[in-house]
């Protein structure tokens, strides 16, 4: 007989009673993934948020985000407060549903920040998952990868981005910022996690 419907609770009924893995309640897990800090933007919005004093006890960082902006604009990020344009570069590809995809890059290192999200806007929230790999290394330039996107029931974008921070310093702070007087809207959230190695 084909299964037409399966729910977590019904799955649980098939398992030994001793297991609480399936029942949807809190489970104590020896996870290597830990929440470090979360910023939720309050009334009036903000032009930037910063995670500082990031502990060096993980192997990788992941930033999980949901944000909107007051205008259609990109938002950006800086590492360790650096405003040195020579330290930032990126490549990204974007699909907007128009048939083709387009790509852009900054290999001349002309910006004082990395690209965090293309074409954020007020209509709906952009979701993003950004990974900072081997962030405590003092011998590697840092590569940052991201998947982000937004759909507005008639427009939208989906983006894959690779940023490079040309600096071998360990990452100790991250700043997400808007520019040109724009701001990040209320209810936007930025949650930073550490992944153990």
């Amino acid at each position: 007989m084909a299964i037409r419907f399966a729910s977590a609770s019904r799955i649980g009924n098939k398992l030994p009673r001793g297991s609480n893995f399936w029942d949807g309640s809190a489970v104590v897990v020896n996870s290597s993934y830990e929440s470090i800090a979360t910023v939720t933007v309050g009334s009036g919005g903000t032009q930037s948020i910063t995670f500082s004093s990031i502990p060096a006890t993980y192997k990788h960082l992941q930033l999980r985000t949901s944000h909107a902006t007051n205008n259609t604009t990109n938002i950006y990020f800086r590492i360790n407060g650096s405003t040195t344009a020579a330290e930032y570069g990126y490549h990204y590809i974007v699909g907007t549903g128009s048939g083709s995809v387009f790509a852009a890059s900054d290999v001349s290192h002309s910006n004082t920040y990395g690209v965090f999200a293309y074409n954020s806007n007020p209509s709906n929230f952009t979701a993003g998952v950004t990974d900072f790999l081997d962030y405590t290394s003092t011998t590697k330039n840092k590569t940052v990868r991201q998947l982000a996107g937004q759909d507005n029931n008639g427009s939208g974008y989906i983006q894959l981005t690779s940023n490079l921070w040309i600096n071998t310093a360990a990452i100790t702070s991250l700043t997400i910022l808007s520019t040109g007087g724009d701001y990040i809207n209320q209810y936007s959230s930025f949650a930073l996690y550490g992944i153990k190695g």
Binding site: T38, G97, S100, N124, G149, G156
Partner: protein
Amino acid sequence: MTAGSTYTPIATYTVPSAAASVTFSSFSGYTDLIVVCTVQASPGGDLSVQFNGDTNTNYSYTVMYGNGSGAGSTRASSRNWIPLDYYAAPPTSGSFNNEILQIQNYSNSTTYKTVLNRANNAASGVDAVVGLWRSTAAITSMTFSVVTATSNISAGSTFTLYGILAA
């Protein structure tokens, strides 16, 4: 400064025989959800998701895809579901699509819900999807099915639901 371990497995399900849908409905107490799937469909088709049993035209999506010969992007508005892959889940004779669905702030009751998915079809190509559910309701259930109404999710397909709790 840290709030402790998270990325908690909530439920996992291996489809024992061809199924029209798979639903998760018990996942309170987290900030984000992640669903990791390996999927075949019979006779093939795109895996899709609906939330809270909403079958109305409250969904839209934008997708970017690529294979060995090119890349492209398409989108659709006011649909009855969000498709999670551009390259259809293969039939039983093929490899499994693998998919990772990200659902941020799923329990908030203020904003419409934006979700991200990355899917890989080893034989055909790769894609990334952003989907919108135009509802401010907290997500309390999600149902996966195949867009093609006559298709089923094949036996051996797996769905694992994780919860992430922010500090």
